[in-house]
Amino acid sequence: MSTEIERIFYEPPARPTRIPEAPPAEPQPAVELTLDGRAVTVPAGSTILDACRAAGIEIPTLCFLESLTPVNVCRVCVVEVTGSRVLVPSCSRRVEPGMEVLTASERVRHGRRIVLELLASAVDLSLAPGVAEMLDAYGADPLRFGPSAPAAAAGEREARHPGHHEPPDGAAAEIVALPVKVDNDLYVRDYSRCILCYRCVEACGTDAQNTFAIAVAGRGFDARISTEYDAPLPSSACVYCGNCIGVCPTGALMFRSEFEMRAAGTWNEARQVTTDTICPYCGVGCTLTLHVQDGAVVTVTSPMGSAVGEGHLCIKGRFGFPFVQERPTG
C-alpha cells in the first residue's frame, strides 16, 4: 500500500484502560561524596540532607518538610563543607562530586547549639515535638541570655515599624510572645510559639493551597506571620483548609477544639487513639487520620506519606467531622 492509503486506513491506538503512568524518570548520574569521612554515592540532584538520611546520619531539622520547598531559614540542619567559609544548610544544598561534609564537627555542634538556644530564648517551644530532645542533645542553655521579658500587649508587635526600636536595658531577653489570636471557630494562632519557619506561608501559597492569605510582614525580630494589615481571618482570603496547621512544627497553629480542651485541662494525648479512614466528602479520596479521645473525634490530620494529598486536606476533610458525633436524640 502506498503511504497515502496507509494514512487513510490509519487506526488510532486503543484507548488506555488503566490510568496512564508518567514516563519513567531518567536515571540520575551518581555523585560521590564523603560524609564524616565515609564515602557515599547518591543520585545527582540530592541534597546533603537526602544523602545523610540515606546513609543513616541523623540531622536535626525544624523548617524543613518533605512536601514543601526548602527555605533554609531555621539553620538547625547546618553542616560543615570543606572549603566553605560558613556552615551550609543541608536541607537545600545540593551534593557536588567530591564534596567533603562534616555533620557532627565541633563547629557544626556549636552552630546548632547557638541556633537552638536563640530560638528557645525567644519562642515558647513547649509544644514542639522533638525540640526538647534537640536542646538536650546539643547542651543548649537558653537562659544564658537572661530571664524572659514580659509578653507584648495585643497589637503591640503588629504596630512596630521597621528601621527603629526602643533600646533595651538588657535586664531581660526580649521574646516574641503576644496574646493568642482567636478569631474563628476552626483554629487559633498562637504566635508566641512561632519560629518563623515559613511552612504555613508556603502551604498557604504555591506549595499547596494557592490561597495566599498569609505572608511574613515586618522586619528582623519584629517579623511575623500576618494577613494584610493584621486583618482577622474571617476578613482575609483564608479558606480554612487548615493545611497551615498540618505543617506547623511548634503548635503555634492549633485546632480550636484542641486549644479549648487544653485550656479546660481535658486534652490528654495518652488517652487518644488514631484511626485512618478515607474522607467521605468527595471523590478525591484523601486519607484522614481521626484523633479520638474518650469516644469523640478531637482533631483530624492526614499522613504526610499519603499519595493523594501529601498530608494536605480541605476545610471539609479537616474540620467537617462534628457530624460523626451527632446522634439522633428522639
Binding site: 531559614v73 541556633v115 527603629h164 526580649e174
Partner: protein
C-alpha cells in the same frame, strides 16, 4: 488568581498615584470601573499577570509619595492592578522603612542616628527635636509633620544630616546637612507652607560656586592625579558634551572594537576587584555571566550604598553620572545583556535625579537604546529605587527587591552569575567598581594593573567622616597607609588624639592608633584581620563615646536584619541586650562571662547566618573588644 480584597474603595488620590505608574485600569478585574460587556468574560491571570510583580515597589513608592502612607484600600487597589495577593503586598510594604502602613503625617524629617552623625552631635539633635516637636513619629506642627530617627543617610561628611520627605501632588525629597534641631523645625514649617506648590527651578550654579560646593564633599576635587574623581567639580555632571570632551565614551568605542571577549580579557587583566566589600574579581564575574547559555542576561548596578559611613557612590553618581551609564553599557556588551537595572537607595534624591537625567540624555544621543553608535548593540538602563533597607545592598536581596518582594537574601549557591535577577544570569557590580571600567577598556588592563599594589590594582575611594579635620571622599592609590589617608584629611579634628578608626562601616572592623601604618590594600587589611569593606573610614578622637558607637552598631543590625534566619534575627537582639548590660555595668554573673557569651554568639552568627549581614553583625563589636579599645569591665574574650 482570585484575589480577596475587602477594604473600602481607595481614595481618588490613592488611585491616581497607582494609575500614574500603571496607566488607567481597563477592567473591573483590575480594580477599575465595570466595563460591560467585556468584564463578563474576562479574567487576568497566568504569566502575563505575574510578570508585573516587579512594578510593586514603584507603585508603593507612588502611593507613599502622594499620600504619605499606604492604606489598606490603596494597597488593595494596587494588588488588583498587579494581581498580587494583598497579604504578600502588605508583607512587602511592611518590610521597607520608608513605607508606612499606618497613618503618618505627609511631611517627615528623617534624622540620622548613625555612628558618623552621632560623632557630630546627632544625639543632641534628637534630644532637642523631642523637646521641640514631641516624641519621634508623633504628629507635630499642627499635625501634618513629624520627625523620625533613621539609619545612615550617606551624607556623613556634612553631619548631622536629615532628609525631608514631603508627600503630595508635588512630592519632594530634600536632603539637608549639617542641621540642628532648629533648622529641621524651620524646614518642616517651610515644607508645610510650600506643600503642593511646584518648587521654582534652581538657578544655574556658577562654575566657581559649584567647585566650592563639590569640594565640601570631595576636598581633592579639581586636583591632579585623580582617576575616579577626575571629573568631580570640573565638568558639569548634567552635560553630555562636557563628558564627551573629557574622554567620555572612549571606553565604549574601544569596547566595540575589542569585542565582548576582548573587553572581558582587558577587565580580567586589569585585576579589578569589586569595590562593594567582597572584592570579587570583576573579570571573572563577567566571563561567568557571558558563558551562561540561559537567556536573557541582566546587568545590575548596585547603588544601594547603605553601609553606615559610606558615601562614595553617592558622590560618583552626583558628579559623574555619564561614566556609570557608559560603564554599564560596556558591561552589557561584554556579558550579553540588553537590559540593565540601577538599584538606587531611596535616600539619594540628587543621585537619582542626576542618573535619570544622564540616562535620558544618553538615550536621546544614541548612547543607549537600539543600535548604539551604529554598532547594532542594544542596551538600556532602568532605575529602580530601594525603600529603606540596608540588607538590599546584599546582591540577592537586591534582586528580590527589584522583583517586588521582601528584601530577603537567597541562599547561595546558586550564585547570581547563574541564577540572578528574574532567575537569569546576572552581573552585579558596585558603582565604584564600574567607574573604573571605561578607562580600563580604553587604556588596556595592563595599565590599570600597574597602579596600586600587585594584589590590589588601581585606586580606591575612602569616605572619611567623624572626627577628621576635612571629612569627605578621598581617592588614593592602593597601598597608602591609613595614617597617610588621615593626614590627607587634615588629621584628627582640632589636633586632638586618635582613639580608634572604624574601617568598612558597621560591618567593618575597629582599629586603634597603632594601626596608622596599616597599608590600605585588600591583602594588607586581610592580613591584619581588618577589612576595607565599603571604604568607610570613621574616625573617633580621644573624647569619643566608643561604647555608645558599639551600642548604636548593635541597634543598627537589630533594625536591619531581614528576620529570615534565626541566628541573625534573634542573635542581633541578644547582642544588643548583652552590650546594653555591659555598657550599664550590670552584667549577669560577671563581665568575663558576658564577653565569653558575646564571642560565642558572634561565632554562631558568623557561621550559621544566611547572608553577609548576619555574618558580619558582630564584627565591629568584637574587633573593638579584641583590640582593647573599649573597657566593658572584663578581660578580652
Amino acid at each position: 488568581m482570585d484575589l480577596v480584597t475587602l477594604a473600602p474603595r481607595a481614595s481618588a488620590e490613592e488611585r491616581a498615584a497607582v494609575d500614574g505608574v500603571l496607566g488607567t485600569a481597563t477592567s473591573r478585574w483590575e480594580g477599575g470601573d465595570r466595563m460591560v460587556p467585556t468584564d463578563d468574560r474576562f479574567a487576568l491571570g497566568g504569566h502575563a499577570a505575574r510578570e508585573r510583580r516587579h512594578l510593586l515597589l514603584p507603585v508603593l513608592h507612588a502611593i507613599q509619595a502622594r499620600v504619605g502612607w499606604i492604606s489598606q484600600a490603596a494597597l488593595e487597589y494596587a494588588c488588583r492592578r498587579l494581581t498580587i495577593p494583598p497579604a504578600e503586598a502588605h508583607g512587602v510594604a511592611a518590610f521597607y522603612q520608608m513605607f508606612s502602613t499606618t497613618p503618618r503625617p505627609p511631611v517627615v524629617a528623617h534624622v540620622c542616628e548613625d555612628v558618623a552623625c552621632r560623632l557630630k552631635g546627632a544625639g543632641q539633635v534628637h534630644a532637642d527635636l523631642e523637646r521641640m516637636l514631641g516624641p519621634a513619629g508623633a504628629p507635630a506642627l499642627g499635625g501634618d509633620a513629624t520627625w523620625l530617627p533613621t539609619p545612615c543617610l550617606g551624607r556623613c561628611e556634612r553631619g548631622p544630616t536629615a532628609l525631608f520627605t514631603v508627600a503630595g501632588l508635588v512630592p519632594e525629597t530634600i536632603a539637608a546637612a549639617p542641621v540642628d534641631a532648629a533648622a529641621i523645625v524651620d524646614q518642616l514649617a517651610r515644607s508645610l507652607a510650600g506643600r503642593e506648590l511646584v518648587p521654582p527651578p534652581l538657578p544655574p550654579e556658577p562654575d566657581e560656586e559649584r567647585l566650592a560646593n563639590v569640594r565640601r564633599s570631595i576636598p581633592q576635587a579639581g586636583g591632579p592625579g585623580l582617576r575616579l574623581l577626575r571629573r568631580a567639580g570640573v565638568t558639569n555632571p548634567r552635560s553630555l558634551d562636557d563628558y564627551l570632551a573629557s574622554d567620555g565614551y572612549r571606553g565604549l568605542r574601544r569596547a566595540l572594537e575589542l569585542g565582548a571577549a576582548g573587553v572581558i580579557a582587558e577587565v580580567t587583566d586589569s585585576g579589578l576587584l569589586g569595590r562593594g566589600g567582597a572584592a570579587f574579581p570583576t573579570g571573572r564575574k563577567w566571563a561567568a555571566v557571558a558563558a551562561q547559555p540561559a537567556r536573557p542576561h541582566y546587568v545590575v548596578c548596585n547603588a544601594d550604598e547603605s553601609e553606615p559611613g559610606t558615601f562614595k557612590d553617592r558622590v560618583l553618581m552626583e558628579e559623574d553620572p555619564f561614566a556609570i551609564v557608559e560603564a554599564m553599557t560596556i558591561e552589557g556588551f561584554a556579558t550579553g545583556a540588553a537590559r540593565g537595572f540601577l538599584y538606587l537607595r531611596a535616600e539619594y534624591a540628587l543621585s537619582a535625579a542626576r542618573m535619570a537625567h544622564a540616562i535620558a540624555v544618553a538615550r536621546g544621543a544614541g548612547y543607549l537604546g537600539d543600535d548604539i553608535l551604529g554598532s547594532g548593540l542594544s542596551f538600556d538602563i532602568e532605575i529602580r529605587r530601594g525603600a529603606g533597607a540596608y540588607v538590599c545592598g546584599e546582591e540577592t536581596a537586591l534582586f528580590e527587591s527589584i522583583e517586588g518582594r521582601r528584601g530577603e537574601p537567597r541562599n547561595k549557591p546558586p550564585f547570581p552569575v547563574e541564577v540572578g535577577l528574574f532567575g537569569k544570569p546576572t552581573a552585579v557590580n558596585n558603582i565604584e567598581t564600574l567607574v573604573n571600567v571605561p578607562a580600563i577598556v580604553a587604556d588596556g588592563g595592563a595599565a590599570f594593573a600597574a597602579i596600586g599594589t600587585p594584589g590590589s590594582a588601581g585606586s580606591k575611594l575612602f569616605c572619611l567622616s567623624g572626627h577628621v579635620e576635612r571629612p569627605g571622599v578621598y581617592e588614593v592609590e592602593f597601598g597608602a597607609p591609613l595614617g597617610e589617608l588621615l593626614a590627607l584629611a587634615g588629621g584628627v579634628a582640632g589636633g586632638r588624639g586618635l582613639r580608634a578608626v572604624l574601617l568598612g562601616g558597621a560591618a567593618g572592623v575597629f582599629v586603634g592608633p597603632d594601626a596608622l601604618d596599616l597599608p590600605l590594600t585588600f591583602e594588607g587589611t586581610r592580613a591584619a584581620g581588618a577589612t576595607l569593606g565599603s571604604g568607610a573610614v570613621i574616625v573617633f578622637d580621644e573624647s569619643a563615646d566608643l561604647v555608645g558607637a558599639l551600642l548604636r552598631i548593635a541597634a543598627f543590625f537589630r533594625d536591619e536584619s531581614c528576620g529570615q534566619c534565626v541566628p541573625c534575627r534573634i542573635g542581633t537582639v541578644r547582642q544588643e541586650e548583652l552590650l546594653a548590660r555591659l555598657a550599664a555595668g550590670r552584667p549577669r554573673r560577671s563581665a568575663a562571662d558576658e564577653l565569653a557569651l558575646l564571642a560565642d554568639l558572634g561565632q554562631g552568627m558568623r557561621d550559621a547566618s544566611i547572608c553577609g549581614l548576619g555574618q558580619t553583625a558582630s564584627s565591629a563589636v568584637e574587633s573593638a573588644i579584641r583590640a582593647g579599645l573599649v573597657d566593658l569591665g572584663g578581660r578580652r574574650p
